[in-house]
């Protein structure tokens, strides 16, 4: 399998965004039948399906830009963890509901700024995807916001657990905005991650301030996901996600 470093920049960039969406979609799907209420099951399932739809477009495009004949299924199911370019934020386990909502707030607020920026991309595929996806992630961000506000403003226990959820995911936030060589090689096409940070800060800060949650100040930051360096959690996730396709290649029903 090709390692990320050898991919054309456009392929690597599309793969980064696609892997983020694919892996978080898989994580969210783990909530199905386990959410606090059946209505929340449906809501999380909808969000996961939105992310899967984005991943399909992006992985297909990454395969085309690579030019080696790999399609979305090859990229989703036949790569090993070192070839995935997602950030650590999307691969850490769900934790409790507060951790899941803290992550969804952080990631959907990031995706919202990302797709806003890509609306003006010089690449027609990325700009087209952004036009559809920005509406989806605006809803994801709202869903996470509603829950962060309610848990933050609920009981003392829910406030503490929401704060603990934020503390759990915040070490993984900075990586979203780290410089990415693939993005840097695509001026006018890719969004510079650093430019997404100020509007992200403004949105997240005003949510947390409404319900006296504190913005964590982690002592360390995850990095390396975009170059294929992942935690052990991704391997377990891939084992479950890829098992069927690898055991029965091309199987359909």
């Amino acid at each position: 399998m090709t390692t990320p470093a050898t991919l054309p920049a456009l392929s690597a960039y599309a793969l980064s965004l696609g892997d983020d969406a694919l892996i978080l979609g898989q994580r969210l799907a783990e909530w199905i039948t386990r959410a606090p209420q059946i209505e929340e099951d449906v809501a999380i399932g909808n969000i996961a399906l939105d992310l899967l739809g984005q991943a399909r477009v992006l992985l297909t495009y990454a395969g085309e830009a690579e030019g080696a004949g790999r399609d979305e299924d090859d990229l989703a199911y036949l790569r090993d963890d070192r070839d995935f370019r997602n950030v650590h934020l999307v691969e850490i386990p769900n934790g409790d509901f507060a951790v899941t909502m803290a992550r969804l707030l952080a990631f959907s607020a990031y995706q919202h700024e990302l797709y806003q920026a890509l609306l003006g991309s010089g690449d027609a595929t990325l700009a087209g995807l952004a036009g559809k996806a920005v509406k989806e992630v605006t809803y994801h961000r709202d869903h996470a916001t509603q829950w962060v506000l309610r848990l933050g403003d609920g009981t003392a226990t829910s406030h503490d657990r929401m704060q603990a959820g934020l503390e759990r995911v915040w070490p993984y936030v900075d990586e979203l905005f780290d410089a990415d060589p693939a993005a840097a090689a695509l001026p006018g096409v890719a969004a510079d991650p650093a430019t997404l940070r100020p509007p992200w800060d403004r949105y997240v800060d005003q949510v947390l301030q409404q319900v006296t949650l504190h913005r964590p100040e982690p002592a360390w930051h995850a990095r390396g996901g975009r170059t294929g360096l992942h935690s052990e959690h991704l391997g377990h996730l891939l084992a479950e996600m890829q098992h069927l396709h690898r055991s029965h290649p091309g199987v359909t029903w």
Partner: protein
């Protein structure tokens, strides 16, 4: 009717609430909401079902996810089920039966006299 309270309870018809322990919040901790969706501009909102949610804002969002994700609607109302007063099954006969044999309540019962042009 002996002053018993009824609610619509998830669109499944009237359910007795009088003397039933702790109906609100519901059995899963969240109150029940009735959902009404307008399919297109110009149509009226139709009852489509019910769901649980902690408050009205979340009920609206849950309704969006449960009832409109295949583009079924352009507008959603949510109403607390407890706010709906429903007719009782026990009242069915006095409420509805008397209408059955009153054919003269339908305009087709009456012959229109000849020569009446603007009826």
């Amino acid at each position: 009717m002996s002053g018993q309270d009824m609610t619509a309870a998830g669109g499944h018809g009237a359910v007795l609430t009088d003397g039933v322990a702790v109906r609100r919040p519901g059995r899963r901790g969240w109150p029940l909401w009735e959902v009404f969706v307008r399919a297109r501009r110009g149509l009226s909102h139709q009852h489509v079902g019910s769901l649980h949610a902690p408050d009205a804002a979340m009920a609206l969002r849950n309704a969006r996810d449960v009832y409109t994700r295949r583009a079924e609607g352009v507008s959603i109302w949510v109403v607390p089920s407890a706010a709906i007063t429903a007719s009782s099954p026990e009242e069915k006969d006095p409420f509805f039966d008397p209408a059955l044999d009153k054919v003269y309540r339908h305009p087709t019962f009456y012959d229109v006299p000849e020569g009446v042009s603007h009826l």
